[in-house]
Amino acid sequence: MLIGVKKEKDTAEGIARRQAMGESYWAIVRRQFRKNRLAVWSLRLLYLLLFIALTADFIANERPLYCRIDGETYFPVFKQYAVGLGLSTWEAQFFQKGWREHDYEKVVWAPIPYSATTIDRKNNNYRAPGDKQNIQSWRFRHWLGTDQLGRDVGAGMIAGTRIAMLVGVVSMSIAAIIGIFFGALAGYFGDDRFQASLIGLILNTAGLLASIFYAFTARAYAFSEGTFSIELLKSIGITVAIMSLVNLLARALRRIPPLGKPITLPLDIMVMRLIEVISSVPALLLVLSILAVIERPSILYVMAIIGLIRWTGIARFIRAELLRIRSLEYIEAAQALGFSEWRIIFRHAIPNALTPVLITIAFGVASAILLEAFLSFLSVGVPPEQVTWGSLLRLARSQVSAWWLAIFPGFAIFLTVTIFNLLGEGLTDALDPRLRG
């Protein structure tokens, strides 16, 4: 926190001029962005990666895309989704034999006819891409080699793409929601604008304690016995019920004079302290120690934890923007019209503050992907059977002669991180009014 030096920020004269010429803000940003060729190419590559992530099951799969056995037609890859959702079950013959061993009349394999976890026993023990491989035809070749168990590295790369994209999107969505919420609270209300009634404060504190007790402490047993996600939903339901009850009560009691005494809460200080706590411990260390608590590792926890830790940057940006916006005339106009504070924040203030956050999110995705890759490289927090870029790279350490295990996944991590960094740079330039011609 620096006092005295004000970051110089140009008034958006360029924008105003262009907008006067009838060009929308986004059209200007888009045109500005297109000037940066590297950023445009990164965006194209990002589309490609997203496409691979979405269609990963059709690109690398041990099941055929389409097959005909004894006159019956099957679409096993599609069926896999139905089975996964519990809508259908596999025919008995698919249990009895592996996918390779059927007598197909007709069959269309996926481009990579292996899943990430398929174990090819004939080609195990680190078969290099160029080695002679024990396969029926070139169609089943392991183009990127195999690992010790005989799992196809190419299929692993495809599965890893999906995980990496998922980590980036999910964790940054969580971070964005938390960060925008807290940043908006701190920025819009500052230290002086948030007023609550005395009774509201007392009842909310009591309600919070009560909901911690009834939703979590008293239900610890239910948590340990039942399905975690269902129990969590129930607990959230209980919390919401208690809090809304308490607030209804507070609204009724507020009319009684001594109870309705207004009290100003310094929200800005509170949020900034919270941010300071989180950012004073290195993120990696924090993630690692929280992951140590989890008994059954899952990639979902990794995403959630990264999201819960990496929101501080976004919150800082939104706060700074809203501190500026809150004293603008249109906000005053909205207040004069008698709109509720929440409506002003979410409908009027936040939409105007979102653009710079895109930059933080782009860099945030890069660092989230990097962090997840590093965690699976250390094999912390990711289940051992999960194939990710990081876990493939880890295998290279145990077998140094397997160069393909070091180069391909590492390059994929590098490429993805670079793409997001370049996008972030491109956005920074496109949104910076000083660089506009």
């Binding site: 006092i3 030096v5 706590v277 993120a283 690692l288 120690s289």
Partner: protein, 473 residues
């Protein structure tokens, strides 16, 4: 100024308290029994029940785990405030699951004591005979300690009784205690008081608790004893810190020495070939994950596989302590080459990008134009007028450098197997060696905040316009 400093340091305190609570809370929620971790390898003594119990109790006392965890606790009224006295974590958790079902502590406690007594009875019997049926009973009993579901407990009790009925010798000595055990379990079910589970109750444990003792010790710089190898945490950290400071110091020094001229010149010659080439190279370096580069260097340069075996393999070399200093020095230095390179290139890219940005900002300013107009030599303009003012971003880097160094250290130390802080932390976390973990968490928080404070102070020192005293905001 002094007032400002004091205020900043005072703000540290609540932040550190929150972090200490977080670290302590994590260690309590984490699975695993620290006493069991410490007792690894006490195999033969565990055969004797009372002996094993004594050892367990002594170890728990030694680690301070025989005290309540925190000053106070919020739990349903059904839970007793003395549950922490049951030292074995698995037993304690099983008992609290039983309470969560039936809500009546007294009968459950009676049932637990019955189980313990039964355990001793079995011990006495075992000295006389050891048959299959006996083993069956014993295993059923061991499972009862960790079972909370009604069906499972009933079936285990039934199993034990049928087994005891098969053997006439056992029947004489075990039938009576088994029956008592069953009836005590029936009592638990009959006297259930589930309403107590929904009555909140705040329990006050006083100052003599684990958290308080740990925090008091931390303030006295006594960081406790590792669960894993019983060494004082401070000792372990001292050894590790040496290597981390050494490799990071060299890497940062190298990075600064190279990046400052690089940044300055690419800013001055903006748009030139040199600028574009260095910007792109540095951008690529910046995006290259250090754990990938570390692995690649390890794969290609330390093994004879690819004909480029130029560096020694991982570790620090293993010359004995008696070896002459210089040969030890050379051995260690050759092992540190690759790790230092890995740590340096990322920092290099980062710092010189910042330096270039800062310099670009400055040479646009009016006073630089004035300096040129005055006819000063380019050396004077660049190094005297522009360079000093462009140092601000480098100074603020100081605040970011610690977390970055830590993350880099973990990757590099793990890959090259250097016994530094990063490796110590990772090992401690995977071994659930919590005294080490929360000491690292606290120290890193202190260092990060101190880094930010120092950066702010340096900022004021470098730029007279920045002032922390009086009218702020």
């Amino acid at each position: 100024m002094l007032q400002y400093l004091l205020k900043r340091v005072l703000i540290f305190i609540p932040t550190l308290l929150v972090i200490s609570l977080l670290a302590f809370g994590l260690s309590k929620v984490a699975p695993g029994d620290p006493v069991e971790l410490k007792l690894r390898g006490f195999g033969p003594d565990q055969q004797n029940l009372s002996n094993a119990e004594r050892i367990y109790r002594e170890t728990a006392d030694f680690l301070g785990l025989n005290k309540p965890a925190f000053y106070l606790g919020l739990s349903p009224a059904a839970y007793p405030d003395t549950l922490y006295n049951i030292l074995r974590r698995d037993h304690r958790e099983n008992l609290s699951k039983l309470i969560a079902q039936y809500g009546n502590w007294e009968p459950i406690s009676a049932y637990y004591h019955q189980l313990l007594r039964m355990n001793y009875t079995l011990q006495e019997v075992s000295s006389q005979q050891e048959s299959n049926t006996f083993r069956g009973i014993r295993s059923a009993l061991q499972q009862l300690f960790l079972t909370h579901s009604d069906i499972r407990i009933s079936s285990l009790l039934d199993e034990a009784e049928t087994l005891a009925a098969q053997d006439s010798n056992l029947q004489a000595s075990l039938q009576q205690p088994l029956r008592e055990l069953s009836s005590s379990y029936e009592a638990v079910k009959e006297k259930a008081r589930p309403e107590l589970l929904y009555l909140p109750d705040i329990k006050w444990y006083g100052l003599d608790n684990q958290y308080h003792n740990w925090l008091a010790g931390f303030l006295k710089l006594d960081f406790g004893i590792s669960y894993y190898d019983s060494r004082p945490v401070a000792d372990k950290m001292k050894d590790a810190l040496f290597w981390t400071v050494l490799i990071n110091g060299m890497a940062i020094l190298l990075a600064y020495l190279l990046s400052i001229p690089l940044g300055v010149f690419s800013a001055i010659w903006k748009g030139s070939f040199f600028d574009r080439a260095s910007t792109i190279t540095l951008f690529i370096l910046y995006s290259l994950p250090s754990f990938w580069i570390g692995t690649m260097l390890l794969v290609f340069f330390t093994t004879p596989e690819y004909g480029m075996d130029w560096f020694p393999s991982i570790g620090l070399g293993n010359l004995p302590r008696e070896a002459p200093f210089w040969s030890r020095f050379r051995e260690t230095a050759s092992h540190l080459g690759l790790p230092v390179f890995c740590l340096a290139y990322g920092a290099l890219a980062f710092i010189s990008r910042q330096m270039r940005g800062g310099m670009l900002n400055v040479i646009r300013q009016d006073y630089i134009r004035t300096a040129w107009a005055k006819g000063l030599s380019s050396r004077a303009v660049i190094w005297k007028h522009a360079f000093r003012n462009s140092l601000f971003p480098i100074i603020t880097l100081f605040a970011n450098i610690f977390p970055a160094v830590f993350a880099g250290s973990v990757a590099i130390e793990v890959i090259f197997n250097i016994p530094g802080m990063g490796k110590l932390t990772i090992d401690a976390i995977t071994q659930r060696d919590w005294p080490v973990v929360y000491t690292v968490l606290m120290l890193s928080a202190i260092l990060t905040m101190a880094g930010i404070l120092i950066a702010d102070l340096l900022y004021a020192w470098a730029d007279p316009r920045v002032s922390y005293s009086r009218n702020k905001r």
